[in-house]
């Protein structure tokens, strides 16, 4: 009986240790994000996205697209700690006159990272797709309505 209990405890211990060792991912796991990619809109317009890193858990990126003829939308991203040391997504873009917005990390899983604002009105998800592509889902809630925008960034040849 003692042997059975010991074996059961050992099994539980190994299972818990294994799960703990595998589960807690950090920014260092974001190697799947690094690359130079492009999303093509239904109208043929292109959105370019480049991420580099991770370096010590930090990834930086830039987004570039044309809005109206002669106008460009530019965005700079940082996945990493903000000035207060909290991990999340910091974004500055031409839409905000380069003022930064910060969205805290919600979760990191294998091949997926989610950021969500405290009021849950804004959620940004990046995830690995086949062929070294990266998907992005931007969800915005306002006045009871949720707007979802999806992107399929494929490697630039």
């Amino acid at each position: 009986m003692k042997n059975l209990i010991a074996a059961a405890l050992l099994a539980l211990s190994l299972s818990a240790a294994g799960a703990l060792a595998q589960a807690p991912l950090d920014g260092g796991s974001l190697t799947w994000m690094a690359g130079n990619r492009v999303h093509t809109n239904a109208n043929g317009g292109k959105i370019y996205l480049a991420f580099i890193g991770p370096v010590n858990g930090v990834v930086t990126g830039t987004v570039l697209t044309t809005t109206t003829p002669g106008q460009t939308y530019i965005e700079y991203d940082k996945l990493g700690p903000n000035a207060e040391g909290k991990y999340g997504l910091t974004v500055a873009s031409t839409s905000t006159n380069m003022a930064s917005t910060f969205t805290p990390l919600k979760s990191i899983e294998k091949g997926r990272i989610v950021f969500e604002s405290a009021d849950r009105a804004s959620r940004t998800t990046y995830f690995a797709r086949s062929g070294n592509s990266v998907g992005a889902v931007i969800e915005r809630k306002a006045n009871g309505t949720t707007t979802i925008t999806e992107y399929d960034f494929r490697p630039v040849n």
Binding site: A34, G35, N36, K46, Y48, L49, A50, F51, I52, G53, P54, V55, N56, G57, V58, V59, T60, G61, T62, V63, L64, T65, T66, G70, Q71, T72, I74, Y76, K78, G80, A92, N97, M98, S100, V156
Partner: protein, 156 residues
């Protein structure tokens, strides 16, 4: 005589056409696009990515010093500038507290772009290197002395 004048006029026209071909703009910067890394002799790595060009604009980001140094680039009309802002290199980094600095374009040639301040005190050169690499020179002149830092970014 008419034949000679005609030949001269034709030569001038052909010369003008050649000039039109060499006038490159930001859309020629395809060689700059990619994700690369440069390593110092001490083994420190600087990662850099450029994307585009779109509408003559290229944007980029750099990451170094163990992830604590992040830099953002725009090659195009001055960041935050007026409608007809001058073309050049806008950079924001921790040294400037992420405020955008601007260095005007000096020249674009095939596989090479140079930015230089009006007083000539600072010059930044990017150029294509073999194997899809990109070289970068940052030259600063102060008190009669010029400091030159070189980077050789290799594809990741």
């Amino acid at each position: 005589m008419k034949t000679i004048i005609g030949a001269c006029a034709l030569a001038l026209l052909l010369n003008a056409a050649a000039t039109a071909q060499t006038a490159l703009d930001g859309n020629s910067l395809t060689w700059l696009i990619g994700n690369r890394v440069a390593m110092t002799a001490a083994g420190a790595k600087t990662y850099e990515a450029f994307t585009g060009p779109q509408n003559g604009v290229v944007t980029g980001t750099a990451l170094a010093v163990n992830g604590t140094y992040t830099e953002y680039h725009k090659i195009g009309p001055q960041m935050g500038g007026p409608a007809n802002a001058p073309y050049g290199l806008s950079v924001a980094n921790p040294r400037s507290n992420m405020a955008w600095g601007f260095t005007p374009l000096k020249v674009i040639e095939k596989d090479k772009i140079v930015f230089e301040t009006a007083d000539g005190a600072r010059r930044i050169t990017y150029f294509a290197e073999p194997g899809n690499g990109v070289g970068a020179w940052v030259e600063s002149t102060a008190n009669g002395a010029t400091t030159k830092t070189e980077y050789h970014f290799k594809p990741l």
